[in-house]
Symmetry: C2
Subunit: 518 residues, 2 copies
């Protein structure tokens, strides 16, 4: 068939708007070859001749030919440009069409046909966080109270100061200015024992957890998780194919039984001692010291997720578990003086804003170098502008100021929420874990036998996000927690009583057995 | 001992500059309790009295007492505030000081004492990328040619337009404006078959690889990697505890043997078909079609890492493997018409700048929903400003313009490098893989028996980064590649001849056996 005709017909039938002439020519000839209208061995017009026929620039034709040649459809030889013989592998290597048995065989064998791996398939079924702008979605700070204008100025300044060289990959542990600022803050306000060298910048707590799970544990290793506990941690550990063991939480925090240490020696122990997620319990000193001593003895690493403890309303923030190592050493001479075996995790998602995607880890000194090497090899970093702007924000005292402001704001909101809950639900529910953080736990009296998950689902239908405590259970072992998790940081105080009223309505109807949830 | 005296002495001996009075009081009393100078049961001065003695505000004392109480050191009772009985767990739960045997036992059992997990320990030994600003460090674009001023303006604009609500967590797959822009670009310039729904924004190719390894494969699953191949992929797969199988690469790209499919059926296949890393080989059409057909038949997923193929100098960019699925379907009616089983990976680290930390994946339609759910649960996203600025950069045509500019610039640099290499080393080495990308492979004639790793080390000492091809070997199976990987994108053309001169000097001395490397 005449080349130009063939091309014009293809253009009319299958051409796409926005295709360059070269693209059109390439597609048309490839289609003609595949469909057989240009059979193997057939010689193509010389580029000059075709260009003339089409009235197009010769380079257009040359490039299209070159591309077809580099893709193997045509080849240039002494006879000119000819259509290549069809590669053997146009038909599958098995040879011709497959039989039904072959097909069945494939379906049986092919794990890749499942949309996700086994280790993550389960996770897709977990409830996905609902609209995070709604009350009482936990873990979302008061975004409208963030000094956005100031932040914009600092970002502009950081970008203006940035050199072309700083567009390159950054230091594996993050910008040292930011690591210094974080270490100084942690020492002063969280009693964390650390130098800047121990601080590693991450893309947030989830990234920190992913790293901890893979860098400090192997598939099949056991990891303890508080039950009820934080789903994000469970996700990270499952994805790393660790074996999560749910350990019950009571009013003093994680409560492992002696046999847990013997039967389920943990490689990692995930805890939220300052404000347990979701119950809000504060781990007692006795439990903290016991946990450190036992972890040392069993060679376990504690992951302390200190996600929202900057906000403590009844007295100053509690000292971090990480800094407690020395307290034991002074009292047990048999123990070498050393830091507690703790990976301390922090984030700016709660103190500043979630979209920033900057968190950090504090790693024991003896692990710093190895982790640094690992990250240099496996976790390219950058984002110099954001990190330097944040360092500036901290150095100039804006961070401390913002924390104090938010502490006051959240305390008002907490007080309003607690008052409304006690007034409207005091007879059947108890407020727990309200001394710190951004959420509290509304616990139901067991004898009521309320189904907190049904209530949570009903609340969601009513536009209120209030995760059920029992939903956070890890493992099969039962635990006593039944109730709702209420985040108040983003909810104006004046709205609390109204929102609690709607919640109370649902709970009363559930109590009266008048609540039906599909 | 008198409280005030005790506190003043502690302040003098162990006080830290910058401590608030409250912090000082808390530390002093905690120390006194731990050291025994305030024994269990001992009553503390009433806060008013101590405040008066110290001449401090009473609240300072009250808060310090509250903190000590909340930490469990003291308790308030009828008799007033008294030092608590020492918690049982002050001494390790094993009971008292441990015997030497116990200590030895600990050292033997404690796997956590190793700085890293087994799966990552090996990786820390891999060579860490040297100074990336140096010639001929591969994979670094011409940062000084990036339109930084324009980018600053777009960032400012994005930040100014950002609302407080956009500081919250972002959509799990990324900002839709950016996904749209990427999909449009890939369809037009890479012949990728995709809609915006299939595009998932990531923090870069390493993050995409980590996700692929965990979302689409389980520990123990086999993953094929090109040998020689990309170390970052090996790292991601090892961290996910997959079993990497090195598959030899020749001039046509990945060259699996029939028995490889039978003996080592891969769950994942990692390839760089447009410009093989590190050899620069372009995968032939025959190999591409065979790979897709075999992957379909064996239920394997192909990971196409299309890291630098936007830059092709001899003709237009090659079509991506991902879009080739249909070419088979039209020719083998037994195959259902469907996309190739390909996870297509792209990044802006090469086309814009590495510090941006934005990459993307294109996922087959049947896996989109499951992955979306997984990410919603496990990978909090944000960084709206950067994503929207990038979407703008693409929509306004700056991206296409920048690509064309860099293609011209890199072509000049490539031409200069190739010319210098052929002039100074043409007799003993061959240039490969120079038709596209940002690096080429300088391959040594086998009969020379040059040790490319020794040469690479010597070059590094001379300030030239030129990774050895044999260093990228995956697995034990030998392969024929010996030579150096030379990145030219960031090296001005006028410097090529001088740099190649220094390299040539090293190679000549190695040839003459005069090269000694410590």
């Amino acid at each position: 068939m005449d080349h130009a005709l063939l091309i014009n017909r293809f253009a009319a039938e299958q051409g796409q708007p926005g295709w360059s002439r070269q693209r059109l020519l390439h597609e048309a000839l490839r289609h003609a070859i595949r469909s057989g209208s240009l059979p193997p061995g057939r010689r193509l017009l010389a580029s000059r001749a075709l260009a003339a026929e089409l009235g197009w620039a010769r380079n257009t034709v040359i490039y299209a030919y070159e591309q077809l040649a580099s893709e193997g459809w045509i080849s240039a030889g002494r006879r000119g440009t000819v259509v290549s013989a069809r590669p053997a592998s146009f038909v599958p290597a098995a040879g011709g069409a497959r039989t039904l048995d072959q097909v069945r065989g494939l379906e049986l064998q092919a794990p890749a046909q499942a949309p996700l791996s086994r280790r993550t398939a389960g996770l897709a079924c977990l409830p996905v966080a609902a609209d995070l702008a709604a009350a009482f979605a936990p873990g979302v700070p008061a975004l409208d109270a963030f000094p956005l204008e100031l932040w914009r100025r600092l970002m502009m300044r950081a970008w203006r100061a940035l050199s072309a060289a700083q567009l390159n990959y950054g230091p594996p542990a993050g910008e040292s200015a930011l690591r210094e600022a974080i270490a100084a803050h942690l020492r002063a306000s969280r009693a964390v024992r650390c130098s800047a060298e121990q601080v590693f910048i991450s893309d947030g707590t989830q990234a920190s957890l992913d790293l901890c799970a893979r860098a400090f544990a192997d598939a099949g290793d056991k990891v303890w998780i508080e039950s009820p506990g934080y789903g994000g941690a469970l996700t990270a550990f499952r994805a790393a194919q660790l074996r999560p063991i749910g350990i019950a939480v009571d009013a003093q925090g994680l409560a492992p039984r002696p046999q847990d240490w013997l039967q389920h020696r943990p490689q990692l122990i995930y805890v939220t001692p300052s404000h347990q997620y979701p119950s809000g319990a504060v781990m007692s000193l006795e439990r903290r010291l016991a946990l450190i001593a036992q972890a040392r003895q069993h060679g376990s690493l504690i992951i302390e997720d200190d996600y929202d403890s900057e906000f403590r309303y009844d007295g100053p923030p509690l000292a971090a578990l990480q800094g407690l190592g020395a307290d034991i050493d002074t009292l047990d001479s048999a123990q070498p003086a050393s830091d507690a075996p703790v990976l301390y995790l922090g984030t700016f998602s709660k103190t500043l804003f979630p979209g920033l995607r900057i968190g950090f880890m504090v790693v024991p000194p003896e692990r710093v170098q190895a982790l640094h090497h690992l990250l240099a090899r496996s976790a390219p970093r950058g984002r110099a502008a954001e990190q330097l702007a944040l360092a500036e924000f901290m150095r100039e005292g804006h961070f401390g100021l913002h924390l104090r402001r938010m502490r006051r704001l959240y305390q008002q909101r907490r007080d309003a929420l607690v008052a409304a809950l006690e007034q409207q639900l005091g007879d059947i529910a108890q407020v727990r874990g309200a001394s710190a953080g951004m959420h509290l736990a509304l616990c139901f009296e067991p004898e009521l036998g309320l189904d907190d998950q049904a209530l949570s689902a009903a609340a969601l239908q009513a536009g209120i996000v209030a995760p059920a405590l029992s939903q956070h259970r890890v493992g099969r072992r039962a635990n006593a927690w039944s109730g709702l998790m209420l985040g108040y940081a983003q909810v104006p105080a004046e709205q609390m009583s109204g929102l609690v009223g709607r919640l109370a309505g649902l709970i009363r109807s559930a109590q009266a057995g008048r609540l039906f949830v599909k």
